[in-house]
Symmetry: C2
Subunit: 359 residues, 2 copies
DNA sequence: TTGAAAGCGTTACCAT
DNA sequence: ATGGTAACGCTTTCAA
């Protein structure tokens, strides 16, 4: 079924059908009704390819995210979901491209074959060749996260520096003096992922301001790595009483490692960081954390991109978000109990996972 | 840059350029080289829209999944990731469509506007109008999950019935006699989601076979609901010693509820179910569960769809998977400790979250 | 208010 | 082995 057939059956020209459907030119009520009737009858919908070829717009947005090696973090996936739903509001479809670098085939297709009108990029690096490329060719795009020099760009981003600083200050206010930082995997840090770098910067800066004794760690995106990381932390400095983490997927393992070492959260060890809100509420004790507003970030990114597409000459805009820390149950005053000796854990009492059943 | 320009610069016709690039017709080495050189020089890539219009294929697969109300479960998101990566292997892009029903705008676009060559559907209902529609119009598609009458269809699916049966038998073998079932939200059950129904069937069947005393519950997809659900379970029958769940997102809350009620997992309460493997290892104690092979299901779905696209007359194929139960740390023999009385929880000792630090 | 016709950039058939 | 040319199905300019 094509527009010519509709035109014939409605007794009008193809252009009239096109205009009746798009509303880009007035059409008399009579002919419009006639056309609409035929359209409804045959359940006609114009071909996306033909339309895209004719008017140069695909009504599709690209969402570029790194390939998942193992699997995705809750945060990344929340982004994907929120972007897709926000795009649906504007009647845009979303094409997924698992591309970590400029040269990925899928990324090349997206741009080179003009499959999308604009793109949203996730997991930005401080130096990001995908971003550079898009900027160089003037392709409409918005990043979730920002590069080392975000000036003049379109982006939405979390202020990881400020967020981690807030975490450190929160712990320092509670009296913690020896604090560890659990970052994303070393591989990502080395690759220059901005959240890992800016988070680390914030940690270092705030810790210096407060005169804390600190150590920083990279940690794989899984529970086993989290557990191993805690073991290293307590081995390196048994007097450590708190940690800050950006590593959502490791939190379960961090908790387990602490419990196995006989450290009760939050009584004798505090944990905080930057993770998705619903995830923070899943673990026990619930995590005091800066809740990543993934849904809002995704929506804002789409809003920005649509604005940019509608107004090609609009000046660059961005949103830098600094969500507050949600006080939950994983942080408490330092020194309530002196940290146990560095001896093997097996001898100490079993942890109680931070539950306080007594009022 | 278009194919005409390439042809002109290479001194050949457009069709020759097309054939040189697609390899669908022999081209002399000389002209091929000449063309390739111009193509490389100008970084030419054919327009996806024009190509799709001309040859009727978009090289895009649609992935249809329900809108996320609140947010997605880890399982759903693993599917999305694995489908996208599997599709990339075949040089297919993936277009996302958040559509729960046949009439969703996004779903209509996918099909009506012929944006994709084929579709993969997630979160299938026993009676699914999207599936019916696709079958009726003969649109190439594969479902992850299967309807009440999957005969003659293309699908990959988990055998939820068998999986939950296995969980029940595992618990019965351990001596549990009073077991609860924690299903997905009631709304999904009522809507007819197949995993919820088939899982429930398996539970009921196996429990009857083993002569167990059971109760079944629906539970929201979040920690708070899980916690509330456990409270109901222990109120309804304080002698309950185990539960089976399909509700991945509730597990954290289930654990918390049990701990708050003074039930130690696995010493005096066992928990098992069907969840993603990496998630099962995140919680403490690690969950004994049938690990959902999301990545494999996604890959198999893409394989099937690509096969179907390549061979339009191939007979329907499917894969029914029954992954084994991974024994972890959340189940144990019943009756090690008699269940406490039904009194209010506050008075009982604090839980230790199932950690055994002593050898 | 409507129609005719020229693109949009490919592919693929029919010639040569 | 290559070229010419009609599709593919729509949008949009130009005319009336």
């Amino acid at each position: 079924m094509n527009i010519g057939e509709i035109a014939r059956r409605a007794g009008v020209s193809r252009s009239t059908v096109s205009y009746a459907l798009s509303g880009k030119r007035p059409v008399s009520d009579d002919t419009r009704r006639k056309i609409q009737q035929v359209v409804d009858e045959l359940d006609y919908q114009p071909s996306a390819s033909a339309r895209a070829l004719a008017n140069g717009r695909t009504s599709t947005l690209g969402l570029v995210f790194p390939p998942a090696g193992n699997h995705y973090t809750g945060m990344q996936l929340d982004f994907i979901g929120s972007v897709v739903e926000a795009a649906a509001v504007y009647d845009y479809d979303v094409l997924l491209s698992p591309s970590g670098v400029d040269s990925d085939r899928s990324f090349q297709r997206l741009l080179g074959e003009r499959r999308v009108d604009g793109a949203i990029l996730m997991e930005i690096k401080l130096e990001d060749d995908r971003v550079d490329h898009l900027a160089a060719v003037g392709f409409p795009s918005v990043t979730i996260g920002r590069t080392a020099r975000p000036e003049g760009g379109w982006w939405v981003s979390l202020d990881h520096t400020a967020l981690v600083e807030a975490c450190v200050h929160h712990l320092a206010d509670l009296g913690h003096r020896r604090v560890a930082f659990v970052n994303r995997p070393e591989q990502l840090l080395r690759a220059g992922y901005e959240s890992a770098h800016r988070g680390l910067d914030g940690f270092t800066k705030a810790a210096a301001e407060r005169g804390l004794t600190v150590r920083t760690y990279c940690c794989g995106d899984d529970a086993a790595s989290g557990q191993a990381c805690v073991e290293r932390i307590l081995r390196d400095d048994p007097a450590t009483t708190a940690l800050v983490t950006l590593n959502e997927a490791a939190v379960g393992g961090l908790y387990r490692g602490l419990a196995l070492a006989g450290r009760h959260v939050p009584r004798d060890f505090s944990v905080t960081g930057v993770v998705a809100g619903h995830w923070a509420e899943t673990v026990t004790p619930q995590l005091t954390a800066a809740d990543v507003p993934a849904a809002e970030l995704g929506r804002l990114a789409v809003d920005l991109l649509v604005e940019r597409l509608d107004h090609p000459d609009a000046p660059p805009r961005h949103h830098l978000l600094t969500p507050p820390i949600s006080l939950r149950a994983s942080t408490g005053p330092a020194g309530a109990t002196p940290a146990p000796d560095a001896g093997p854990a097996g001898a100490t009492p079993v942890a109680d996972a931070g539950l306080d059943t007594a009022p």
